[in-house]
Symmetry: C2
Subunit: 192 residues, 2 copies
DNA sequence: TTGCTTGTCTAGCGATGCTAGGATTCGAGT
DNA sequence: ACTCGAATCCTAGCATCGCTAGACAAGCAA
């Protein structure tokens, strides 16, 4: 038994290595640079090893996305719990979200732009994704306003943040006025 | 001279054919299916002909994007000019925008998701892109509210719509409540 | 020691974006 | 009318991609 356990442990370590390396490579040179060959070389194994852990590149992206979702939830909760009052909490949430997107563009892409083969907004949605949404809901629900479903409000607020994040990073919006846009968004959307 | 003119005309026709075919193929089977080989086969020319018109696949995407930007501007203006009152205009704009995104997913991707090699939010931004933004600004500027820069407001509103469009199409948001989200967004963001 | 499972690698397939270089066509000049 | 040269187009190929088959080696069980 002990032998099998050791092997399983080593396999798990290698799997984490694959995900971490893919993420690192993606953040350094973009997801296009994350080829199976380069990834295999970096972990010092041959290509087929990747396929003994994941069905393919898509699943690797999905694994990075899950990792990122958990981190984002932590970042959002840390920011909101350190803020006083509903408005400050919402501002902190928005900043934390956009900050995360800016600092981890590859992870953000894995989460919301690329196809990681994950189910969203469904029952079989992986727990980290649900929890990341829950982290948003916790602070946004209290400023949804009367008669507005908290979940719906959170979706709209989230979509707005997502729009700002993606358009800014894709060069469609200039980063200079980013702070002003956040202020405007919070002032208008949140009911205090 | 006449001969050269005829050739130039024929070249222009073929260039439009390339763009139209790429768009058609992308709408039918997604941009991944738009390979240079398939595209060349559909227009009944060899691959290198594509490269005598465009630097590469990226520029073809850019051409589709420009075409789409012009159409989107038309669609938005048609919707807003048929609506009475500021609020109705904004609602009409939002619906027209999301409708365009839903009905022309490949074109929308070319515009805002993919890299078409175009400059955005700069001086050398192609005219169709500027004009599409202007079309949004025309109706959104009047509901920006006092002391809020119309351009900034338009950017925020646009980003929100973009977020809704992309998250919905990527399966991150369920399409059922789409109408409610638009209502909420307009009610909160627009100052009437 | 022998046999078998498990793990890993080499080699290769079809497809991708893109390009070099040869062939063909066709108008211009005598 | 005929030749020459330039423009036009295609065949063939390169490097790279994601992914996989099949050979090989390592290591445990009998």
């Amino acid at each position: 038994m002990s032998v099998q356990e050791r092997k399983a442990r080593e396999r798990a370590v290698r799997e984490r290595l694959i995900v971490a390396t893919a993420r690192e490579l993606a953040e350094q040179q973009g997801w296009d640079a994350v080829t199976t060959r380069r990834l295999a070389e970096r972990i010092e194994y041959s290509q087929p090893v990747l396929y003994s852990h994941f069905r393919g590149k898509r699943e690797i992206i999905g694994a990075v996305a899950l990792e990122g979702a958990a981190e984002m939830a932590v970042a959002v909760r840390a920011a909101t719990s350190a803020a006083d009052g509903p408005r400050e909490r919402v501002v902190a949430l928005a900043r934390a979200y956009l900050d995360f997107a800016e600092r981890n563009p590859a992870v953000y892409d894995a989460l919301f732009q690329l196809d990681g083969g994950l189910a969203y907004a469904q029952e079989d949605t992986p727990e980290p994704l649900k929890d990341a949404f829950a982290a948003l809901l916790e602070s946004l629900g209290e400023v949804a306003g009367d008669g507005v479903h908290p979940g719906l409000f959170t979706e709209v607020f989230w979509a707005s943040l997502h729009g700002l994040a993606t358009l800014t990073r894709a060069g469609r919006l200039l980063p200079e006025d980013a702070a002003q846009r956040v202020e405007l968004l919070v002032d208008r959307l949140a009911v205090l």
